[in-house]
């Protein structure tokens, strides 16, 4: 009886399998996750029926990466609020922003991305807070031919994938230029063993030699470690002229604490992943003199007068009014991403292909909050470093020195 039942179940499953492969003949399974739609799969299930454009956002508002993801998602909420205040219309098109919190969990990010593309029919997606997640989303975007703007620096892009925010090459070059201006020729490197941390060193190695910089030591630490004394002691023995730290908070802050305890006197340069208020609070007085590659929004008041300065100040005021903290590298990046999409829509582009074409050929020199965008067909990551600068921490706040 039990055996018979098993046989029956298996038999029925077979019937079901055959039945449903027959029931959806319109499925040319050329692409991976598409709803069987009568139109086949020439373009993703367009939510742009008529005059509707949907924008997807996948960020880590909660979980370990929330220190970076929360400012991003807050900035986008602000953009969304302003959009809705105008009736949600841009250039005669209804625009909808659909936000997903992936909770620093890659599985959730992938499912959210698939949902946005297949069920919602978005034309463009902005995400993700982390490097590894962005890589996962990049693949889905390429498979479905949807425009994806990556907020995190991922090395390889692709036909429909762009990067907002500077590439690590541009940012590390800025650090190297600073070292050269201070006549420093030896440097030590320390990074976290996570995707962002591991992405920096190969680029540093590539750029160091032609610039006459010698990397005397490279160390790494576990992303959740709470003490880096061992690594820093090794570095101290090598006597470098400066230390570069490539890690997000809280690891980045722990390095600062240990650095002070060991009595280092050399300059410390931190990556953009440490350019947030959480880092300032964490390091407190120990942070005095540490240079962090941050957004000029953090020091807007101290910049020389310009139209750009005024825009940053306005952004800061809006963020302050809404969330009680000013703009930073993450808020400016996310705001710019939304604004370039809006520009594309304003010019009458609603489908993925049209938006991609606009970004490649018609965006030209867009002056964003995070830098100047110069996308071309060949370069999907061309953002100048003029929106970021190495900001020394002074009296527990960001300062600006040019």
């Amino acid at each position: 009886m039990r055996k018979k039942l098993g046989m029956i179940v298996i038999l029925l499953l077979w019937i079901a399998l055959v039945g449903c492969s027959a029931s959806s003949p319109s499925n040319e399974t050329k692409s991976s996750q598409a709803k069987p739609s009568p139109s086949g799969k020439a373009e993703p299930a367009s939510g742009n029926a008529g005059d509707m454009v949907k924008i997807g956002v996948v960020l880590a508002e909660t979980g370990p990466a929330s220190g970076l993801g929360k400012p991003e998602i807050d900035a986008i909420r602000l953009v969304k609020k302003k959009l809705e205040a105008q009736g949600g219309m841009i250039g005669g098109k209804k625009v909808e922003i659909i936000m997903k919190d992936y909770e620093t969990d890659d599985t959730k990010a992938v499912l959210a991305m698939r949902k946005l593309i297949a069920d919602e029919g978005v034309s463009v997606v902005y995400g993700a807070t982390q490097v590894s997640t962005s890589i996962a989303l990049r693949d889905i975007a390429l498979k479905n031919n949807v425009v994806f703007l990556s907020g995190a620096p991922i090395g390889q892009l692709g036909e429909t994938v762009f990067q907002t925010g500077q590439t690590s090459e541009v940012l590390i070059q800025q650090m190297i230029d600073y070292l050269k201006s201070k006549n420093i020729h030896t440097v030590a490197w320390i990074n976290a063993r996570d995707a962002f941390g591991q992405s920096g060193l190969p680029i540093m190695k590539k750029l160091a030699e032609p610039n006459g910089i010698e990397i005397v030591d490279a160390e790494d630490f576990d992303a959740s470690a709470t003490d880096m004394t061992v690594q820093l002691s090794k570095i101290k023995a090598k006597n470098p002229g400066a230390l570069i730290v490539w890690s997000r908070t809280p690891g980045a802050g722990v390095v600062v604490k240990n650095f002070k305890q060991l009595g280092f006197t050399i300059p410390m340069l931190q990556s953009q992943a440490a350019a947030n208020d959480a880092f300032l609070k964490q390091v407190g007085a120990d942070g005095e003199g540490v240079l962090v590659q941050g957004s000029k929004a953090s020091v807007a008041e101290q910049l020389p007068d310009s139209e750009y300065k005024n825009r940053l100040i306005q952004h800061n005021q809006e963020m302050m009014a809404e969330y009680n903290y000013p703009g930073d590298i993450f808020t400016t990046k996310a705001t710019d991403a939304m604004n370039i999409i809006f520009k594309a829509i304003e010019a009458g582009n609603t489908t993925s292909d049209q938006i991609r074409d606009f970004l490649e050929n018609q965006l030209h020199e867009y002056q964003g909050l995070s830098g100047t965008f110069r996308y071309t067909k060949e370069n999907h990551a061309a953002v100048d470093d003029n929106g970021v600068s190495l900001l020394p921490i002074h009296n527990g706040a960001w300062s600006y020195s040019k």
Binding site: R2, V9, L13, C20, N27, S32, D106, R114, A118
Partner: protein, 343 residues
Amino acid sequence: MRNRKQSFYAGRSKVFLSIFILMLLVLLFNDSTNLYGILTMIGIYSIVTLGLSLLMGYAGQISLGHAAFFGIGAYTSGILTTTHGVNPFLSMICGVAITFVIALLVGIPALKLQGFSLALATIGFNQIIYIVIISQSQLTGGASGFSGIPGLAVFGLNLSENRYYFLLVWMIVLLIAYVSMNIIDSHVGRVLRGIHDSEIATLTFGVNISAFKVQIFVLSAVYASIAGSLYAHFINFIAPPTFSVVASIQFLVMIAVGGSQSIWGAIIGTAAMTFIGEGVRTIVPLLMEGGGQVEVVVYGVVLVLVMMFMPKGLIPSLKNVWDRSGFSRRSAMLAKGEERRSG
């Protein structure tokens, strides 16, 4: 025959049939990629929790390291198919083989421990695998993750279509549930329950308990490995955090909520926790900002409530309601009629 089935919960055919009918309903009426995605993930996690339920609910051995076996399966499948172009199903079998060996090597010494020490040992093992995955970046892509894993195809049918993948995963879930039931109903199951209740008493019967413990540990590891392979081909991307100790703990939570003393508890618990998360994520944004934090809170509250009011999990409580409803007898008759018709 009939009374042997009384050993745990009778009427297994009913459950099989109801799951099966649910599957058909979903296939007939659902057109949402997202729902297929969620159900597929429930299926994949269920395969892990089914193994854990054998190990914990029946043999009474705790493991906080099963996410590592899940990871071994996923990475073996990913690396073999993507880097070396091996057939996915062959890769899955390789993953099972590798898991088998590792589980044997870990299980033999670890299962000599009991209680907290065993929990700590399995956590340690999970952590070792996690560090290996991160540090062997040449092979695994390190912390950046491993991308570009192909989907599955059977007889020219592309299974990356969510609908088909859902079907494949749930067929495997039912198959594994069936195998597990047979284990429980055999004399092995009796031995396991003996170990669970009193190792010493079982030992005095002349049963080689350590061999049984290791065997069931290896079997549950193999389940986790199969689930890992299915995960890799479904998500097409794997990264270390998915296989950390935190994931192991989540598997335990699913079992605790469903009820570890029943095969169906594993599936019910997995489904309940996943749907609670999804529900919170769908509903909260409509009311206020910040779905993620609320989800963590709700998750915790549910766990506390279940532990307080249903210490054996959802299944026994659900079963009580079912038995009292008077509906159970009728449905048994229906199931019989069903059998006669299709037989």
